[in-house]
Symmetry: C2
Subunit: 350 residues, 2 copies
């Protein structure tokens, strides 16, 4: 699959060095640099390179996880979901990736003057339905209104609080040679659906977003006591960014077999047409689980039981080389290194 | 003090009935209606009319409070602070108003393409300084980038988690006849400073925002075991909105003596010139405490010790009439009913 030409990306980064650019929003390397700068250096937080969207804290006798995310997707409504469903599922999925059971949500709405109240109602209805189906409660919230031309209909921030019930420590640096990489379904649908809806390419007629909650499949694995080392949902930056984060945190090489990565034919065709690598395209209902080798078969079975039409698969293993690289072995030809994009492949997909 | 003409406000509300309008953002009655609709009816949350910005939950043996707020202020920098200081102080103050000691913050940044990184650095530096001074830690965060013309430099959402250490139950419905109303300082500075900066009226040269953390004064009261019934910070909608919320929740009449409400001469002059009621203007470092009569003198003493140049005062009492009204007794003439604005007096002040 062709990547955007490196030179043009570098150029864009240089031009935008003193100002925020769209390149900072794509979930690639420059986005990570901005996040590291803002949260690591400036806010002096616990944020570390490779740490994930949720944070784990202990208060009294409880182990809690907190996750926050802002949603700025355009269009607000797309095949398979809307910004409200994304805002609930996105944040509860970040909690699930910490091994936390989502309990409570806060929501902050930034509404643009002129937004139709009917649209707002549809969106909040989706939010309620998504939260109810996962037994998550809205605790508190906030609305602000900005002048026409200072927003994009609406932006939603959700923050989730979850409870960690299991002893299993789930983090990237636990990943070790021999671990098996599982995925819960086919990749690329959300990103292609959004991009196609935005510019009317027509793919949105056949490709719907995979937006979905991931709490059930995750807890199928955890409740059975399987040795789950690390979980990552494949949002902005796609499979490529998440695997690279894990490889770097764990200082391990991850080896992926291209033939085993589930991609629907129509997604593959759309990616070919658009010049995109499906490994870089955003998903909203997909995750990878790194599982101890002895538990891999059972884990895959449980993911199959939990999934509907999602085609879970074993896509690779963690190798012995401690070089922090992700290597993809194609159906034909030599292995290639799968890199994180520096800029954006799909802005504003969540 | 003259209010905006009622007819024009009503007109604006009718025109905007099917769409979000700026009237929904001012912290007045229409803002409350929107919030009640979104959070009460649509999200089916615990949000109730009169409930405040923070929510209290119990997990394990811990009593926790969560608060969330989005900040969309323009300009980003103003005399006495910037959007970053607001975003930290605003949310920790919401926690303090629940009687919770702020511990952790999450931050979500929505950055507009073209924002100067230097401005972002100044803002995050303020955030770090404000958080450090209150011993609050940033746990996790998120950045999104939106296209030029789809934001206003940056918007920040902060969500705070605090721990309730005291047994005192702080809520509006505990307020009862005889309780004393205290305020921690003079009102109206934040709103006038912002409004004046925005359009270059010149008042910003003499009037700075009162943006400040309220954790210390609140815990001076709570740590001494005083009977504090209810706490409210006087943000959007000002003193008038907060007193009305309490009066309605407690089904009690609140009686305020105009002569005792601290307002600086320059703020009063600016309000006269702009046709604003200072009771409706936003503050960011001011709160009212409803305190049992026997504890009022001591509470005022503690507020004086905790405040710097803020002029704490006893401004009124809770009367016997159970009509949910706020009545202001002016220096000269008959008492007047102090109403909540229906629309906005000062949009985007936080």
């Amino acid at each position: 699959m062709p990547n955007p030409e490196p030179d043009s990306r570098t150029m864009q980064a240089v031009v935008e060095r003193t100002h925020v650019g769209l390149v900072h929003g794509g979930g690639g390397r420059l986005a990570q640099e901005l996040v590291d700068h803002v949260f690591g250096e400036q806010l002096g937080s616990l944020w570390l390179p490779g740490q994930y969207d949720g944070a784990v804290i202990e208060i009294g006798d409880a182990r809690l996880a907190l996750a926050t995310d802002s949603f700025v997707v355009n269009p607000l409504f797309f095949p398979g979901g809307n910004i409200g469903a994304l805002a609930v599922n996105g944040t509860i999925n970040d909690l699930a990736m910490c091994g936390a059971r989502p309990k409570f949500l806060c929501a902050g709405f930034i509404l643009e003057e002129g937004l139709e109240l009917e649209a707002l109602d549809s969106i909040t209805t989706s939010m309620r339905e998504c939260a109810e189906s996962e037994d998550v409660h809205f605790l508190t919230g906030d609305t602000k209104v900005v002048n026409r031309g200072k927003g994009d209909g609406l932006y939603i921030n959700t923050t989730g609080l979850g409870v960690i019930e299991h002893e299993t420590v789930i983090e990237a640096k636990n990943v070790r040679p021999g671990d098996v990489v599982l995925i819960n379904g086919d990749i690329g649908r959300h990103g292609i659906s959004i991009m196609s809806s935005r510019v009317g390419l027509g793919y949105e007629r056949t490709i719907s977003s995979d937006c979905a909650p991931l709490v059930r499949p995750v807890f199928r694995l955890l409740d059975e006591g399987l040795q789950v080392r690390c979980l990552r949902d494949l949002t902005r930056g796609g499979l490529a960014s998440r695997l690279n984060e894990v490889a770097q945190s764990a200082k391990a090489r991850i080896e992926i077999r291209e033939v085993d990565v589930p991609i629907r034919t129509e997604v593959r065709e759309a990616c070919d047409f658009l010049g995109l690598d499906p490994y870089h395209v955003a998903n909203e209902g997909r995750f990878v689980a790194f599982v101890a080798p002895g538990d891999a078969d059972r884990a895959l079975e449980l993911l199959r039981e939990a999934g509907d039409d999602t085609a879970p698969a074993r896509i690779g293993e963690v190798g012995d080389a401690g070089d922090g690289l992700v290597v993809v072995r194609p159906n034909v030809g030599s292995p290639r290194i799968l890199d994180t994009l520096s800029g954006e492949s799909l802005p504003k997909s969540s």
